[in-house]
Amino acid sequence: MPSPTGDQISKSLFAERSEWSDVTPLQQYESLVNPLAPIFYTEEYKDATDYFRGIVKSGEKSQRVLELTEAIIRQNPAHYSAWQYRYETLLALDAPLDVELKLMDELAVKYLKTYQVWHHRRLLLAHTRKPAPELEFIARSLGVDAKNYHTWSYRQWLLAYFNDEDDLWRGELDFVDAMLTQDVRNNSAWHHRFFVVWGCGVREGEEDRGRILKRELTYVKQNISLAPNNPSAWNYLRGVLDHNQVLYSIVFPFVRLYTVPFNSERTDIVDLENPPPDKDANLPCPAAIEFLADVYEQDKNKESTLQAVELWMSLANEHDTIRKKYWEHRIREALEATKV
């Protein structure tokens, strides 16, 4: 079945086509009262939906229903009933779903932000159970919009749905790495990394969690050293430590490097555990100051608390003034806690 392009599909109204003459079109219900937010439909949309209501009434599920629902979807990709009926028709016809997926490749990119496009795709995949080519499609689709929420959600759904297929999962870390190389500030990619490493079971070869923790700490530290003012990487660092219930003080020597202005007299000893900030970095880095204050706070003694307070004051008054009220609140709470 060749899939017509958007232009071809509007070539003529269904009402003018002889092969549709056996269908009774049903006009939309017209209210007696003034409708709220009525849409001034085009002739084409009115025509296609009139025929669709007719088809639904008769219960017909045939090849031409695919053409009709496609025409509607192209004019209104959020028409969930057209999607639902289309899906049922595909199953009733035992239609080749790879052809449908091909059409979806085009529509997904065209209507990236529409829920239904992605929902339909999930339904198809649950039937075809061929997830591998999807990873390729998703990578292409992220090429158009690297932070698209639906696209990433779909990748996470796909992997979790086919959680036992190790082959499917094998390239995920390389994929994340490629996405982060393109844009190290892409939070969706950082989130995906967390999902792959920590969120959805333990992969083959990753059973030694101590080693994985070390690997991830090295990875995130290196990325922070290349771009220190990257909240996504700092959140990942916190997430990894929280998830593994490791005290923040484990990264104290690393974090401290980012809390002070750049030191030009710094000796260039290569310390892989604690990669220093890039010399062009904008320092000090507020995320690091916040982190260091948390390290002190976790100490839970008076002296450390005062050090945390000093850092919070610098955030409130200089480095992160939009959250001034928040930092002042942290100071009050911490001082309150030490009194007890």
Binding site: Q27, Q28, P35, A78, S153, N230
Partner: protein, 363 residues
């Protein structure tokens, strides 16, 4: 910091006319609203409510209110899975109005539309005598899925946190939670929590401002007698507050995800979540207002960001955000709003009306 700059006026009349224009009709370029018209109507009517425009008792406004109510009630439908509200008659074939027809599976009630219909009718001070309460309970029951989440329409596999919130808000307004397995729903919410402290739309998804509001509001809507634990542990609460606050960027607006641009709608989603968590006094309300002032479109309506085109969704959510975060520097009264109930997302008076008139009468 924007504290020192005086705010321009909030163009209340312009924003109201933007919403009224949309209620009067939408161009064909908005055909994709067809399957969610009732939600759009809510954003328009809701904006007018926040702006205080629906309080007037002019004959014209009385007529409008009456016809709006009638149209919304026309969307209440009954089918084999119970009753609720559909988005519009977009799938309904013409029939004589006096004829009651049972809706098909392709024209069934929709859970998000049902929530917005409850709010819109409360704004319009309807007495809800026409509400099919037992039908709604049947409908909600049909929407809940094995994993605790809810489908948009019965039988559909399309589900995420948005629909769960709607089920909770509807139960709250009905003061009847018998349709819902709360524990299963709460476990579903927990699977959407992310390491960042926010919640994603579905299990394993990235933390996002809108769905974080939805998760937090849902957890706090549960009546205490149905709760088995606190909505959040102190550590979770702290992390969520931190993540939400970090989403306010230098422009004063909130972004929806780490590293993204600020967007007017997240001023509501993040701001309301913070309000529910008891952390609203930590938000920089003056900068927030400065950002929203810049999102105003010169011919009325509020856009997602400065220089973009406005729509009722961003207009409503911006006004709702301002109802919770009045700027202290405003040198004119155009920025003043009545308080908002962040859990149901309605003006407090409207929320009280809903809770009074939607539950079944004790008789």
């Amino acid at each position: 910091m924007a504290d020192q700059t005086p705010l321009p006026a909030l163009a209340r009349l312009g924003h109201a006319s933007h919403c009224k224009r949309c209620l009067d009709g939408l161009p064909d370029s908005q055909t994709d609203i067809d399957a969610s018209r009732l939600a759009l109507a809510f954003y328009c009517i809701g904006s007018l409510d926040l702006l205080g425009i629906l309080k007037d008792a002019t004959p014209k406004l009385d007529r409008d209110r009456e016809s709006w109510r009638e149209w919304i009630w026309e969307q209440q439908t009954r089918g084999r899975c119970g009753s609720g509200f559909r988005p519009s008659p977009f799938m309904t074939a013409h029939h004589p109005p006096e004829e009651q027809i049972e809706c098909t599976d392709y024209d069934s009630p929709h859970i998000i539309m049902t929530y917005t219909a409850f709010l819109s009718l409360s704004i319009l001070r309807d007495d809800f005598s026409r509400l099919d309460r037992s039908g709604i309970i049947t409908f909600l029951r049909a929407c809940q899925r094995e994993d605790g989440s809810f489908s948009t329409v019965p039988g559909s596999a399309e589900s995420d946190l948005r629909t769960l919130y709607c089920a909770f808000a509807i139960s709250c307004m009905l003061d009847d939670w018998s349709a819902i397995d709360v524990d299963r729903a709460v476990s579903f919410i927990a699977t959407c929590r992310s390491y960042e402290g926010g919640y994603g739309q579905s299990p394993y998804c990235e933390a996002q401002g809108g769905t974080t509001y939805i998760a937090i509001a849902s957890l706090f809507l549960i009546p205490s007698e149905l709760r088995t634990s606190d909505p959040l542990t102190p550590e979770e609460r702290q992390l969520t507050i931190q993540w939400l606050l970090r989403n306010q960027d230098e422009s004063g607006g909130f972004r929806g995800r780490t590293g993204k641009e600020a967007d007017a709608c997240y001023c509501f989603w993040c701001g309301a979540a913070l309000k529910i968590l008891g952390a609203s006094d930590l938000v920089d309300a003056n900068s927030l207002a400065t950002f929203l002032a810049r999102c105003q479109f010169k011919y009325g309506g509020i856009a997602k960001a400065p220089g973009e085109h406005p729509d009722p969704y961003h207009t409503y959510l911006s006004l709702a955000a301002l109802s919770m975060y009045p700027p202290s520097v405003a040198n004119n009264s155009t920025w003043r709003f009545e308080p908002l109930d962040p859990l149901l997302n309605a003006r407090e008076e409207t929320s009280q009306w809903a809770k009074k008139y939607i539950p079944a009468r004790q008789s």
